[in-house]
């Protein structure tokens, strides 16, 4: 059974068709790429899967259970972690608090524990602190743990976001342009980090990316989205040589010729 199964997903922003009949079958442990020019609807696909937007039509299922109609936090708690293209961090919170916060759905001590500081709360929070420490070490942000996130270098902020996403124990990780605005060195480090997550945690990863090189490096299969529709799907080589993809990225040859 596929881990994440999306079929016929369609979404309209008013009269604008943002996503049309999108389909995805993600197997456990797979890394899948989603590429496409600006405004193709890649982030909308993520928002539809994670429940921030509700699809106009179509189904989204995880482990055989439909995700449509659930609150985003319920969907996330079932094992769907994500990062954001424009780094949605909490600017008044420290790195450690970020990673701890993402354990929210695993808290069991309830309101009584929160209000009265019961021993159970202390034990649970200690366990969460240990787990957070482990994650912060994996993502190499442990030395920043008491700093506010705004004071961190950009690459480290990206890694905090990934550590936070991994703290919810995801089965599927959605990465929205994890290398946006990164220097080449940071980019190489990020490839290593993603490989490491994939190897150590065994999560399935769906990756939005602009830099083709990065996607080609990581993914076995790639989807290309243009104006909300998947125009090509296949291995990196197939995608690279697909005339439709080339057309979407570089424009049509004839039109270029006509202009002359």
């Amino acid at each position: 059974m596929p881990l994440l199964h999306v079929s016929d997903m369609t979404y309209y922003f008013g009269g604008l068709r943002a996503v049309y009949r999108y389909a995805l079958t993600l197997e456990p442990g797979e890394i899948r790429g989603l590429i496409g020019p600006n405004g193709a609807g890649k982030t909308t696909v993520f928002n539809l899967i994670t429940g921030i937007l509700t699809p106009t039509e179509g189904t989204v299922e995880m482990g055989g259970r439909s995700l449509i109609g659930q609150q985003p936090h319920q969907i996330a708690a079932q094992g769907l972690g994500r990062t954001f293209q424009n780094l949605l961090l909490w600017r008044h919170m420290t790195v450690e608090e970020h990673v701890k916060m993402a354990h929210y759905s695993q808290l069991r001590y309830g309101l009584i524990g929160a209000l009265f500081g019961t021993p159970r709360r202390i034990a649970e929070e200690r366990r969460i602190a240990e787990n957070s420490m482990r994650l912060m070490e994996i993502f190499d942000v442990a030395r920043y743990r008491n700093l506010l996130v705004g004071n961190l270098p950009y690459g480290a902020q990206r890694r905090v976001e990934m550590a936070r996403a991994m703290a919810i124990n995801p089965k599927v990780l959605l990465l929205d342009e994890p290398t946006a605005g990164m220097t080449p060195e940071e980019l190489i480090k990020m490839i290593g980090t993603i490989r490491q997550i994939h190897r150590d945690f065994g999560v399935a990863i769906l990756l939005i990316e602009h830099r083709l090189k990065f996607v080609m490096e990581l993914c076995r299969r790639i989807q290309t989205l243009v104006f909300g529709e998947v125009i090509a799907e296949g291995t990196p080589e197939e995608i690279q040589n697909n005339p439709k993809v080339i057309e979407a990225y570089l424009g049509k040859e004839e039109i270029a010729a006509c202009n002359w």
Partner: protein
Amino acid sequence: MRRDEQPPANTRPSMDELSMQGQAPLSGMQRIRAAFAGVPILGWLVGILCAVFIERYFGDEISYQLYLPKVPVLFGCLIMFKKPLLIPSALAYVTLIYVVPIAASARLSAVFTNRIAAVLDRGPIALSCLIHVGLLYAALHYWADLSDYRLLVLKLTMIAVMLTLSINLINGYMGEFSCSHPGFMALGAYSSSVLTLFFFGNHSLFGPALLPAALGPYCFPLALIIGGLIASAGALVVAIPSFRTRGDYLAIISLAFLFIVKSLIENMEWVGGPRGISGHPNWSSLPVVYMWMIACIWVINNFVRSIYGKALNALRDNEMAAEAMTVNTRKTKMVAFMLGAFWAGVAGGLFAHVMRFVNPGTFGIQRLAEILAMLYFGGLNSVVGSIFGAVSINLISEMLRPLELYKWIVIPLILILVMIYRPSGLLAFREFDVKDILRPKHTGVGRGE
């Protein structure tokens, strides 16, 4: 063992160390701060207790010698404004009774208090807290014992602390702008008043007492809690719209709620309408108000330091990210509103029983402005800030009472200055770690050789 490992909480070097290193001489202020850096909280409490006892036993004599008409009630401020000629005497009194004894006994006892604090630090935190809270109560009790005016100011200040803390939960930690706090307070005040007067008072509106008066003080907490619960039920009216709106819109909704509550009470004749209710039993004594305040601080501080409480910050800073990280934002908002309203309701109930009179006019825009002033003066997102803001604004406004109308120019001016230089308040974004605060200080003089 632990004492030696500890990094100094306050890395300011002591005077001796500095003079040995032959550095540039310190300025006056720095010298004073260096001298007192090693005094733990316990030391300050001992100092305050000393001052209170000196005032109790020698206050009359000293004020007589200084040509003061009576013992100055609020640190001599009232006298200074009324009779400017007595300013030197009032200053001398404050110096003799408060500044010198507190400073001297805090500093001289630092060696002992640091040792005691170190012992307490190793024991359970609850015991240490209890001792500190008890000492503070003793000091406040004997300080307030000298005049009824002091007692009233103290009780109202404690109620203000509860109000500020509870609104900080919504406006500071969660970052919404809620204006409905006096409404919650009114709900709590009226509910508990009706309960106590119905069961224990021979009142024209509610008939004769149903239960013996001796039971009253024991049932009073129950009445307050019911008042708080009714207030938190009322908070749902604001909490549910907050799922969909933020910012200005929610501010307007909450303001509307405040007006609804106020005009509702004004039109309910069975609770006295606009004239209000009076004749409450005198159950809000100092220890009762103090215990409720401590309970409020304890519960709210526990909450905001838990992951559930930190969720408030997460949804303030970015709600979408909070949802994506499994935070149940609706539940979090509801809890924040209801908890805040609960404590506002309890504070309202205490307020009604301190004043022994309630009317709807008390819970209007004016009260809201006061609460917001205390909140933004003290600092958002901080328990210490709330306590500091409530105490200082309350004391300042009592001290400036002789200025009459000009008081309302001075206090807003102070607020404007704070907003310009510290936009989120004087002590914003601090963690209130009780263990850390009560810890012995091992810099400078306090080193227990």
